[in-house]
Symmetry: C2
Subunit: 280 residues, 2 copies
Protein backbone atom coordinates (compact mmCIF):
# COMPACT_ATOMS: atom_id res chain seq x y z
CA UNK A 1 0.00 0.00 0.00
CA UNK A 2 1.20 3.52 -0.77
CA UNK A 3 0.64 6.02 2.04
CA UNK A 4 0.77 9.70 1.19
CA UNK A 5 1.35 11.88 4.22
CA UNK A 6 0.67 15.59 3.91
CA UNK A 7 2.70 17.32 6.64
CA UNK A 8 5.75 15.44 7.91
CA UNK A 9 5.77 16.97 11.38
CA UNK A 10 5.50 15.29 14.76
CA UNK A 11 2.32 13.35 13.91
CA UNK A 12 2.80 12.72 10.18
CA UNK A 13 6.48 11.88 10.61
CA UNK A 14 5.87 9.51 13.53
CA UNK A 15 3.14 7.72 11.56
CA UNK A 16 5.48 7.39 8.60
CA UNK A 17 8.16 5.73 10.76
CA UNK A 18 5.93 3.03 12.27
CA UNK A 19 3.72 2.35 9.22
CA UNK A 20 6.79 1.73 7.07
CA UNK A 21 8.71 -0.21 9.69
CA UNK A 22 5.75 -2.47 10.46
CA UNK A 23 5.04 -3.23 6.82
CA UNK A 24 1.66 -1.50 6.58
CA UNK A 25 3.12 0.98 4.07
CA UNK A 26 5.12 -0.35 1.14
CA UNK A 27 5.99 3.21 0.25
CA UNK A 28 5.57 6.53 2.05
CA UNK A 29 5.16 9.62 -0.12
CA UNK A 30 5.50 12.91 1.74
CA UNK A 31 4.26 16.43 1.09
CA UNK A 32 6.00 19.14 3.07
CA UNK A 33 5.70 22.81 2.19
CA UNK A 34 8.31 24.10 4.60
CA UNK A 35 11.66 23.81 2.76
CA UNK A 36 13.73 23.27 5.94
CA UNK A 37 11.26 20.67 7.19
CA UNK A 38 11.23 18.97 3.77
CA UNK A 39 15.03 18.73 3.61
CA UNK A 40 15.16 17.39 7.17
CA UNK A 41 12.37 14.85 6.57
CA UNK A 42 14.30 13.42 3.61
CA UNK A 43 17.59 13.41 5.51
CA UNK A 44 16.00 11.69 8.53
CA UNK A 45 14.35 9.25 6.12
CA UNK A 46 10.73 9.81 7.13
CA UNK A 47 9.49 9.46 3.55
CA UNK A 48 10.71 7.55 0.52
CA UNK A 49 10.21 10.67 -1.56
CA UNK A 50 8.65 14.11 -1.42
CA UNK A 51 6.30 15.40 -4.06
CA UNK A 52 3.47 17.85 -4.71
CA UNK A 53 0.07 17.53 -3.05
CA UNK A 54 -1.55 16.63 -6.39
CA UNK A 55 0.96 13.89 -7.19
CA UNK A 56 0.71 12.50 -3.64
CA UNK A 57 -3.10 12.37 -3.91
CA UNK A 58 -2.93 10.72 -7.34
CA UNK A 59 -0.50 8.01 -6.24
CA UNK A 60 -1.46 7.30 -2.63
CA UNK A 61 -3.92 4.59 -1.56
CA UNK A 62 -4.41 6.40 1.74
CA UNK A 63 -3.92 10.16 1.99
CA UNK A 64 -3.22 11.39 5.52
CA UNK A 65 -3.72 15.08 6.24
CA UNK A 66 -1.42 15.75 9.21
CA UNK A 67 -1.44 19.53 9.00
CA UNK A 68 -2.91 22.25 11.26
CA UNK A 69 -6.68 22.02 11.48
CA UNK A 70 -7.42 25.19 9.48
CA UNK A 71 -5.23 23.97 6.61
CA UNK A 72 -6.73 20.48 6.77
CA UNK A 73 -10.28 21.86 6.73
CA UNK A 74 -9.47 23.90 3.63
CA UNK A 75 -7.54 21.09 1.93
CA UNK A 76 -9.95 18.22 2.51
CA UNK A 77 -12.58 19.26 -0.08
CA UNK A 78 -9.91 19.78 -2.74
CA UNK A 79 -8.40 16.39 -2.03
CA UNK A 80 -11.81 14.66 -2.12
CA UNK A 81 -12.56 16.47 -5.42
CA UNK A 82 -9.42 14.98 -6.93
CA UNK A 83 -9.51 11.36 -5.76
CA UNK A 84 -10.82 8.44 -7.76
CA UNK A 85 -11.24 4.69 -7.22
CA UNK A 86 -11.32 3.53 -3.59
CA UNK A 87 -8.73 5.88 -2.20
CA UNK A 88 -9.18 6.87 1.43
CA UNK A 89 -8.52 10.29 2.95
CA UNK A 90 -8.07 10.83 6.68
CA UNK A 91 -7.11 13.75 8.89
CA UNK A 92 -5.42 13.62 12.29
CA UNK A 93 -6.61 16.96 13.68
CA UNK A 94 -7.43 17.87 17.28
CA UNK A 95 -10.83 19.36 16.47
CA UNK A 96 -13.41 17.45 14.48
CA UNK A 97 -16.63 19.50 14.31
CA UNK A 98 -15.61 22.06 11.68
CA UNK A 99 -13.78 19.66 9.38
CA UNK A 100 -16.62 17.11 9.41
CA UNK A 101 -19.19 19.84 8.72
CA UNK A 102 -17.05 21.22 5.86
CA UNK A 103 -17.46 18.00 3.82
CA UNK A 104 -20.81 16.76 5.10
CA UNK A 105 -22.45 17.00 1.66
CA UNK A 106 -19.37 16.30 -0.44
CA UNK A 107 -20.22 13.58 -3.01
CA UNK A 108 -17.12 11.62 -2.00
CA UNK A 109 -17.65 12.07 1.77
CA UNK A 110 -17.65 8.31 2.31
CA UNK A 111 -14.00 8.11 1.23
CA UNK A 112 -13.08 10.25 4.24
CA UNK A 113 -12.49 8.96 7.79
CA UNK A 114 -12.22 11.58 10.55
CA UNK A 115 -9.66 10.56 13.18
CA UNK A 116 -7.78 12.07 16.09
CA UNK A 117 -4.84 10.01 17.30
CA UNK A 118 -4.40 11.42 20.82
CA UNK A 119 -0.65 11.31 21.11
CA UNK A 120 2.05 13.89 20.87
CA UNK A 121 4.75 15.79 22.66
CA UNK A 122 5.36 19.50 23.09
CA UNK A 123 7.81 19.40 20.17
CA UNK A 124 7.02 19.86 16.50
CA UNK A 125 8.60 19.36 13.08
CA UNK A 126 10.10 16.28 11.40
CA UNK A 127 12.90 16.25 14.01
CA UNK A 128 10.26 15.64 16.68
CA UNK A 129 8.94 12.49 14.98
CA UNK A 130 9.62 9.32 16.94
CA UNK A 131 8.88 5.60 16.77
CA UNK A 132 6.13 4.26 19.05
CA UNK A 133 4.62 7.69 19.65
CA UNK A 134 1.08 6.29 19.39
CA UNK A 135 1.46 3.06 21.35
CA UNK A 136 -1.25 2.51 23.95
CA UNK A 137 -2.94 5.87 23.31
CA UNK A 138 -6.53 6.49 22.28
CA UNK A 139 -7.49 7.20 18.68
CA UNK A 140 -10.87 8.84 18.26
CA UNK A 141 -12.94 8.02 15.20
CA UNK A 142 -15.62 10.69 14.65
CA UNK A 143 -18.94 10.27 12.80
CA UNK A 144 -17.99 6.84 11.47
CA UNK A 145 -21.49 6.30 10.04
CA UNK A 146 -20.63 8.89 7.36
CA UNK A 147 -17.66 6.82 6.15
CA UNK A 148 -17.68 3.78 3.91
CA UNK A 149 -17.40 0.66 6.14
CA UNK A 150 -14.56 -0.77 4.05
CA UNK A 151 -12.61 2.49 4.23
CA UNK A 152 -13.25 2.61 7.98
CA UNK A 153 -12.05 -0.97 8.44
CA UNK A 154 -8.80 -0.18 6.60
CA UNK A 155 -8.13 2.84 8.80
CA UNK A 156 -9.04 0.91 11.95
CA UNK A 157 -6.46 -1.64 10.89
CA UNK A 158 -3.91 1.11 10.24
CA UNK A 159 -4.32 2.53 13.77
CA UNK A 160 -4.23 -0.99 15.17
CA UNK A 161 -0.80 -1.37 13.55
CA UNK A 162 0.17 1.78 15.48
CA UNK A 163 -1.10 0.04 18.67
CA UNK A 164 -3.80 2.62 19.32
CA UNK A 165 -7.08 1.99 21.20
CA UNK A 166 -10.08 2.99 19.05
CA UNK A 167 -12.82 5.17 20.58
CA UNK A 168 -15.92 6.17 18.65
CA UNK A 169 -17.91 9.36 19.14
CA UNK A 170 -19.67 12.09 17.23
CA UNK A 171 -17.57 15.09 16.22
CA UNK A 172 -19.30 17.54 18.55
CA UNK A 173 -18.88 15.34 21.64
CA UNK A 174 -15.26 14.91 20.68
CA UNK A 175 -14.73 18.66 20.65
CA UNK A 176 -16.30 19.06 24.11
CA UNK A 177 -14.22 16.24 25.63
CA UNK A 178 -10.90 17.36 24.17
CA UNK A 179 -11.54 20.90 25.39
CA UNK A 180 -11.44 19.38 28.91
CA UNK A 181 -8.72 16.79 28.65
CA UNK A 182 -6.38 18.47 26.19
CA UNK A 183 -7.05 22.04 25.09
CA UNK A 184 -7.41 23.56 28.58
CA UNK A 185 -4.09 21.97 29.63
CA UNK A 186 -2.39 23.89 26.87
CA UNK A 187 -4.08 27.17 27.81
CA UNK A 188 -3.12 26.75 31.49
CA UNK A 189 0.48 25.98 30.50
CA UNK A 190 0.69 29.00 28.21
CA UNK A 191 -0.70 31.22 30.99
CA UNK A 192 1.75 29.73 33.50
CA UNK A 193 4.71 30.39 31.22
CA UNK A 194 3.54 33.96 30.62
CA UNK A 195 3.18 34.51 34.38
CA UNK A 196 6.63 33.24 35.25
CA UNK A 197 8.34 34.97 32.31
CA UNK A 198 6.60 38.23 33.21
CA UNK A 199 7.58 38.27 36.86
CA UNK A 200 10.71 36.19 37.16
CA UNK A 201 12.93 38.54 35.17
CA UNK A 202 16.04 36.63 36.08
CA UNK A 203 16.01 33.69 33.69
CA UNK A 204 18.89 32.07 35.53
CA UNK A 205 16.67 31.75 38.58
CA UNK A 206 13.93 30.05 36.58
CA UNK A 207 16.45 27.58 35.24
CA UNK A 208 18.14 26.98 38.59
CA UNK A 209 15.01 26.63 40.64
CA UNK A 210 12.69 24.88 38.22
CA UNK A 211 11.81 21.61 39.86
CA UNK A 212 10.31 18.64 38.10
CA UNK A 213 6.86 19.89 39.06
CA UNK A 214 7.20 23.23 37.32
CA UNK A 215 8.81 21.68 34.26
CA UNK A 216 5.93 19.26 33.80
CA UNK A 217 3.15 21.80 34.27
CA UNK A 218 4.79 24.32 31.92
CA UNK A 219 5.93 21.73 29.36
CA UNK A 220 2.99 22.25 26.99
CA UNK A 221 3.79 25.98 26.79
CA UNK A 222 6.49 24.98 24.31
CA UNK A 223 3.74 23.91 21.90
CA UNK A 224 3.65 25.28 18.40
CA UNK A 225 1.46 28.30 17.55
CA UNK A 226 0.78 27.11 13.98
CA UNK A 227 -0.96 24.08 15.42
CA UNK A 228 -2.63 25.66 18.46
CA UNK A 229 -4.04 28.94 17.13
CA UNK A 230 -6.41 27.08 14.75
CA UNK A 231 -7.39 24.55 17.44
CA UNK A 232 -8.25 27.18 20.04
CA UNK A 233 -10.14 29.38 17.58
CA UNK A 234 -11.99 26.46 15.90
CA UNK A 235 -13.01 25.02 19.26
CA UNK A 236 -13.69 28.49 20.67
CA UNK A 237 -17.07 27.91 22.34
CA UNK A 238 -16.05 24.75 24.17
CA UNK A 239 -12.68 26.18 25.17
CA UNK A 240 -14.29 29.36 26.54
CA UNK A 241 -16.70 27.32 28.65
CA UNK A 242 -13.84 25.31 30.12
CA UNK A 243 -11.76 28.44 30.77
CA UNK A 244 -14.73 29.97 32.62
CA UNK A 245 -15.07 26.93 34.88
CA UNK A 246 -11.31 26.98 35.39
CA UNK A 247 -11.36 30.67 36.35
CA UNK A 248 -14.13 29.92 38.88
CA UNK A 249 -12.06 27.15 40.48
CA UNK A 250 -8.92 29.27 40.54
CA UNK A 251 -10.85 32.17 42.07
CA UNK A 252 -12.24 29.85 44.79
CA UNK A 253 -8.68 28.73 45.56
CA UNK A 254 -7.50 32.33 45.66
CA UNK A 255 -10.27 33.32 48.04
CA UNK A 256 -9.57 30.44 50.43
CA UNK A 257 -5.87 31.38 50.58
CA UNK A 258 -6.70 35.08 50.91
CA UNK A 259 -9.07 34.32 53.82
CA UNK A 260 -6.43 32.17 55.59
CA UNK A 261 -9.14 29.50 55.34
CA UNK A 262 -6.97 26.39 55.75
CA UNK A 263 -10.04 24.11 55.97
CA UNK A 264 -11.33 25.31 52.61
CA UNK A 265 -7.87 24.97 50.99
CA UNK A 266 -7.72 21.43 52.38
CA UNK A 267 -11.20 20.67 51.03
CA UNK A 268 -10.30 21.94 47.53
CA UNK A 269 -7.04 19.97 47.46
CA UNK A 270 -8.91 16.90 48.70
CA UNK A 271 -11.41 17.23 45.84
CA UNK A 272 -8.61 17.75 43.31
CA UNK A 273 -6.86 14.63 44.68
CA UNK A 274 -9.74 12.54 43.28
CA UNK A 275 -7.87 12.71 39.97
CA UNK A 276 -5.53 10.10 41.54
CA UNK A 277 -8.25 7.49 41.27
CA UNK A 278 -8.59 8.11 37.55
CA UNK A 279 -5.01 8.75 36.44
CA UNK A 280 -2.38 6.75 38.28
Amino acid sequence: MIISIVGLGLIGGSMAIDLKRRGFADRVIGVENDPVGAAAALKIGLADELTSLEDAVDRGDIIVLAVPVDTATRMLSQVLDRISGDKIVIDTCSTKGAIVRAVKYHPKRRHYVATHPMAGTEYSGPWAAEPNLFAGRACIFANVEESDPKALATIEHMYDVLNMRPIYMDADSHDVHVAYVSHISHVTSFALALTVLDKERDEKHIFDLASGGFSSTVRLAKSNADMWVPILTQNRDNVLRVIDTYLEKMTAFRKAIDDFDADKVRELIGEANRIKKILR
Copy 2:
Protein backbone atom coordinates in the same frame (compact mmCIF):
# COMPACT_ATOMS: atom_id res chain seq x y z
CA MET B 1 27.59 9.89 61.94
CA ILE B 2 24.08 9.27 63.23
CA ILE B 3 21.33 10.95 61.23
CA SER B 4 17.93 11.37 62.85
CA ILE B 5 15.17 11.95 60.35
CA VAL B 6 11.85 13.26 61.61
CA GLY B 7 9.24 12.33 59.02
CA LEU B 8 10.04 9.34 56.80
CA GLY B 9 7.96 10.45 53.84
CA LEU B 10 9.02 11.16 50.28
CA ILE B 11 11.79 13.60 51.26
CA GLY B 12 12.96 12.15 54.58
CA GLY B 13 12.78 8.59 53.29
CA SER B 14 14.67 9.38 50.07
CA MET B 15 17.39 11.15 52.05
CA ALA B 16 17.67 8.15 54.36
CA ILE B 17 18.21 5.79 51.42
CA ASP B 18 21.04 7.74 49.78
CA LEU B 19 22.79 8.98 52.95
CA LYS B 20 23.01 5.43 54.27
CA ARG B 21 23.94 3.83 50.95
CA ARG B 22 26.67 6.37 50.28
CA GLY B 23 28.22 6.06 53.73
CA PHE B 24 27.43 9.56 55.00
CA ALA B 25 25.16 8.06 57.67
CA ASP B 26 26.47 5.21 59.78
CA ARG B 27 23.02 4.87 61.26
CA VAL B 28 19.63 6.36 60.39
CA ILE B 29 17.17 6.86 63.25
CA GLY B 30 13.63 7.64 62.17
CA VAL B 31 10.68 9.35 63.81
CA GLU B 32 7.31 8.71 62.22
CA ASN B 33 4.03 9.52 63.94
CA ASP B 34 1.75 7.87 61.44
CA PRO B 35 1.55 4.19 62.49
CA VAL B 36 0.99 2.87 58.95
CA GLY B 37 3.86 4.99 57.65
CA ALA B 38 6.08 3.86 60.53
CA ALA B 39 5.42 0.17 59.90
CA ALA B 40 6.03 0.61 56.18
CA ALA B 41 9.24 2.61 56.71
CA LEU B 42 10.66 -0.20 58.83
CA LYS B 43 9.54 -2.88 56.40
CA ILE B 44 11.01 -1.00 53.43
CA GLY B 45 14.17 -0.48 55.47
CA LEU B 46 14.35 3.31 55.33
CA ALA B 47 15.63 3.58 58.91
CA ASP B 48 17.69 1.31 61.12
CA GLU B 49 15.20 1.93 63.93
CA LEU B 50 12.27 4.12 64.85
CA THR B 51 12.09 6.00 68.11
CA SER B 52 10.56 9.04 69.84
CA LEU B 53 11.39 12.60 68.82
CA GLU B 54 13.25 13.17 72.11
CA ASP B 55 15.39 10.06 71.78
CA ALA B 56 16.15 10.83 68.12
CA VAL B 57 17.23 14.37 69.07
CA ASP B 58 19.39 13.09 71.92
CA ARG B 59 21.20 10.50 69.81
CA GLY B 60 21.46 12.12 66.38
CA ASP B 61 24.44 14.17 65.18
CA ILE B 62 22.24 15.75 62.55
CA ILE B 63 18.49 16.10 63.08
CA VAL B 64 16.51 16.51 59.85
CA LEU B 65 12.97 17.90 60.09
CA ALA B 66 11.26 16.54 56.99
CA VAL B 67 7.68 17.27 58.05
CA PRO B 68 5.05 19.76 56.78
CA VAL B 69 6.16 23.36 57.24
CA ASP B 70 3.69 24.23 60.03
CA THR B 71 4.81 21.19 62.08
CA ALA B 72 8.48 21.97 61.41
CA THR B 73 8.05 25.61 62.43
CA ARG B 74 6.45 24.51 65.72
CA MET B 75 8.96 21.71 66.33
CA LEU B 76 12.18 23.58 65.55
CA SER B 77 12.31 25.68 68.77
CA GLN B 78 11.63 22.62 70.93
CA VAL B 79 14.36 20.67 69.20
CA LEU B 80 16.86 23.54 69.53
CA ASP B 81 15.91 23.85 73.23
CA ARG B 82 16.83 20.22 73.75
CA ILE B 83 20.09 19.85 71.81
CA SER B 84 23.56 20.04 73.32
CA GLY B 85 27.12 19.82 72.01
CA ASP B 86 27.61 20.52 68.31
CA LYS B 87 24.49 18.84 67.02
CA ILE B 88 23.02 20.31 63.87
CA VAL B 89 19.31 20.73 63.06
CA ILE B 90 18.02 21.27 59.54
CA ASP B 91 14.61 21.49 57.90
CA THR B 92 13.71 20.64 54.32
CA CYS B 93 10.56 22.77 53.97
CA SER B 94 9.26 24.58 50.89
CA THR B 95 8.81 27.94 52.64
CA LYS B 96 11.63 29.54 54.58
CA GLY B 97 10.48 32.98 55.84
CA ALA B 98 8.27 31.91 58.74
CA ILE B 99 10.52 29.13 60.04
CA VAL B 100 13.64 31.32 59.96
CA ARG B 101 11.79 34.15 61.71
CA ALA B 102 10.47 31.74 64.38
CA VAL B 103 13.99 30.98 65.66
CA LYS B 104 15.78 34.23 64.78
CA TYR B 105 16.55 35.03 68.43
CA HIS B 106 16.85 31.46 69.71
CA PRO B 107 20.11 31.12 71.70
CA LYS B 108 21.04 28.03 69.69
CA ARG B 109 20.06 29.51 66.30
CA ARG B 110 23.57 28.88 64.94
CA HIS B 111 23.03 25.11 65.23
CA TYR B 112 20.24 25.38 62.67
CA VAL B 113 20.70 25.38 58.88
CA ALA B 114 17.63 26.29 56.79
CA THR B 115 17.49 24.27 53.58
CA HIS B 116 15.08 23.46 50.79
CA PRO B 117 16.10 20.55 48.60
CA MET B 118 14.03 21.23 45.47
CA ALA B 119 13.17 17.71 44.48
CA GLY B 120 10.09 15.61 44.76
CA THR B 121 7.30 13.84 42.99
CA GLU B 122 3.54 14.11 43.32
CA TYR B 123 3.55 11.09 45.63
CA SER B 124 3.98 11.05 49.39
CA GLY B 125 4.67 8.65 52.22
CA PRO B 126 7.53 6.19 52.86
CA TRP B 127 6.44 4.14 49.81
CA ALA B 128 7.16 7.17 47.64
CA ALA B 129 10.82 7.39 48.78
CA GLU B 130 13.31 6.57 46.05
CA PRO B 131 17.08 6.51 45.52
CA ASN B 132 18.61 9.39 43.57
CA LEU B 133 15.60 11.66 44.05
CA PHE B 134 17.84 14.67 44.65
CA ALA B 135 20.49 14.13 41.97
CA GLY B 136 21.19 17.22 39.88
CA ARG B 137 18.51 19.34 41.56
CA ALA B 138 19.00 22.64 43.37
CA CYS B 139 19.20 22.84 47.15
CA ILE B 140 18.52 26.28 48.55
CA PHE B 141 20.37 27.38 51.67
CA ALA B 142 18.57 30.32 53.31
CA ASN B 143 20.11 32.95 55.62
CA VAL B 144 23.39 31.06 55.93
CA GLU B 145 25.02 33.94 57.83
CA GLU B 146 22.81 33.02 60.81
CA SER B 147 24.27 29.49 60.93
CA ASP B 148 27.59 28.37 62.40
CA PRO B 149 30.10 28.03 59.50
CA LYS B 150 31.14 24.55 60.62
CA ALA B 151 27.53 23.37 60.83
CA LEU B 152 26.90 24.89 57.41
CA ALA B 153 29.93 23.13 55.92
CA THR B 154 28.71 19.77 57.25
CA ILE B 155 25.27 20.26 55.72
CA GLU B 156 26.78 21.49 52.43
CA HIS B 157 28.77 18.26 52.38
CA MET B 158 25.65 16.25 53.13
CA TYR B 159 23.75 17.74 50.16
CA ASP B 160 26.85 17.28 48.02
CA VAL B 161 26.65 13.57 48.83
CA LEU B 162 23.06 13.74 47.52
CA ASN B 163 24.46 15.34 44.34
CA MET B 164 22.54 18.57 44.79
CA ARG B 165 23.61 22.00 43.48
CA PRO B 166 23.76 24.55 46.32
CA ILE B 167 22.09 27.94 45.85
CA TYR B 168 22.24 30.64 48.51
CA MET B 169 19.59 33.28 49.12
CA ASP B 170 17.76 35.05 51.89
CA ALA B 171 14.57 33.42 53.16
CA ASP B 172 12.23 36.10 51.82
CA SER B 173 13.69 35.98 48.29
CA HIS B 174 13.37 32.21 48.43
CA ASP B 175 9.67 32.48 49.21
CA VAL B 176 9.07 34.85 46.29
CA HIS B 177 10.96 32.66 43.81
CA VAL B 178 9.33 29.38 44.85
CA ALA B 179 5.89 31.00 44.60
CA TYR B 180 6.69 31.42 40.87
CA VAL B 181 8.53 28.23 40.02
CA SER B 182 6.80 25.77 42.32
CA HIS B 183 3.75 26.88 44.32
CA ILE B 184 1.77 28.34 41.40
CA SER B 185 2.27 25.10 39.42
CA HIS B 186 0.51 23.22 42.19
CA VAL B 187 -2.35 25.71 42.34
CA THR B 188 -2.87 25.57 38.56
CA SER B 189 -2.85 21.76 38.66
CA PHE B 190 -5.36 21.65 41.52
CA ALA B 191 -7.63 24.07 39.62
CA LEU B 192 -7.28 22.02 36.43
CA ALA B 193 -8.22 18.80 38.23
CA LEU B 194 -11.22 20.50 39.84
CA THR B 195 -12.35 21.82 36.45
CA VAL B 196 -12.15 18.49 34.71
CA LEU B 197 -13.67 16.53 37.60
CA ASP B 198 -16.51 19.06 37.80
CA LYS B 199 -17.47 18.97 34.15
CA GLU B 200 -16.33 15.64 32.84
CA ARG B 201 -18.75 13.52 34.85
CA ASP B 202 -17.82 10.40 32.98
CA GLU B 203 -14.58 9.29 34.61
CA LYS B 204 -14.06 6.65 31.96
CA HIS B 205 -13.79 9.39 29.36
CA ILE B 206 -11.14 11.21 31.38
CA PHE B 207 -9.13 8.03 31.62
CA ASP B 208 -9.60 7.05 27.99
CA LEU B 209 -8.89 10.43 26.50
CA ALA B 210 -6.21 11.73 28.83
CA SER B 211 -3.20 12.32 26.63
CA GLY B 212 0.33 12.74 27.88
CA GLY B 213 -0.19 16.49 27.90
CA PHE B 214 -3.13 16.42 30.28
CA SER B 215 -1.46 13.86 32.55
CA SER B 216 1.62 16.00 32.95
CA THR B 217 -0.20 19.28 33.62
CA VAL B 218 -2.57 17.66 36.13
CA ARG B 219 0.08 15.46 37.78
CA LEU B 220 0.73 17.82 40.69
CA ALA B 221 -2.98 17.77 41.60
CA LYS B 222 -2.21 14.42 43.24
CA SER B 223 -0.09 16.26 45.81
CA ASN B 224 -0.74 15.80 49.48
CA ALA B 225 -2.94 18.29 51.38
CA ASP B 226 -0.96 17.87 54.64
CA MET B 227 2.08 19.26 52.89
CA TRP B 228 0.43 21.86 50.66
CA VAL B 229 -2.11 23.55 52.95
CA PRO B 230 0.66 24.89 55.23
CA ILE B 231 2.83 25.93 52.27
CA LEU B 232 0.07 27.88 50.55
CA THR B 233 -1.10 29.57 53.75
CA GLN B 234 2.43 30.36 55.03
CA ASN B 235 3.45 31.80 51.67
CA ARG B 236 0.04 33.46 51.22
CA ASP B 237 1.13 36.96 50.14
CA ASN B 238 3.55 35.76 47.47
CA VAL B 239 1.19 33.08 46.23
CA LEU B 240 -1.69 35.58 45.96
CA ARG B 241 0.46 37.95 43.92
CA VAL B 242 1.39 35.17 41.52
CA ILE B 243 -2.21 33.96 41.25
CA ASP B 244 -3.29 37.52 40.38
CA THR B 245 -0.73 37.77 37.58
CA TYR B 246 -1.79 34.33 36.42
CA LEU B 247 -5.47 35.34 36.36
CA GLU B 248 -4.54 38.40 34.27
CA LYS B 249 -2.70 36.25 31.71
CA MET B 250 -5.52 33.70 31.58
CA THR B 251 -8.08 36.48 31.13
CA ALA B 252 -6.03 37.95 28.25
CA PHE B 253 -5.99 34.52 26.62
CA ARG B 254 -9.73 34.15 27.13
CA LYS B 255 -10.43 37.55 25.59
CA ALA B 256 -8.28 36.84 22.52
CA ILE B 257 -10.12 33.55 21.92
CA ASP B 258 -13.51 35.16 22.61
CA ASP B 259 -12.72 37.95 20.10
CA PHE B 260 -11.67 35.41 17.41
CA ASP B 261 -8.41 37.39 17.52
CA ALA B 262 -6.06 34.79 16.02
CA ASP B 263 -3.19 37.31 15.84
CA LYS B 264 -3.39 37.98 19.57
CA VAL B 265 -3.61 34.25 20.41
CA ARG B 266 -0.55 33.73 18.21
CA GLU B 267 1.29 36.57 19.97
CA LEU B 268 0.51 35.16 23.44
CA ILE B 269 1.59 31.63 22.45
CA GLY B 270 4.75 33.10 20.91
CA GLU B 271 5.59 34.88 24.17
CA ALA B 272 4.88 31.74 26.19
CA ASN B 273 7.15 29.76 23.83
CA ARG B 274 10.11 31.77 25.22
CA ILE B 275 10.10 29.24 28.06
CA LYS B 276 11.75 26.87 25.54
CA LYS B 277 14.94 28.89 25.69
CA ILE B 278 15.13 28.47 29.46
CA LEU B 279 13.84 24.94 30.01
CA ARG B 280 14.76 22.46 27.29
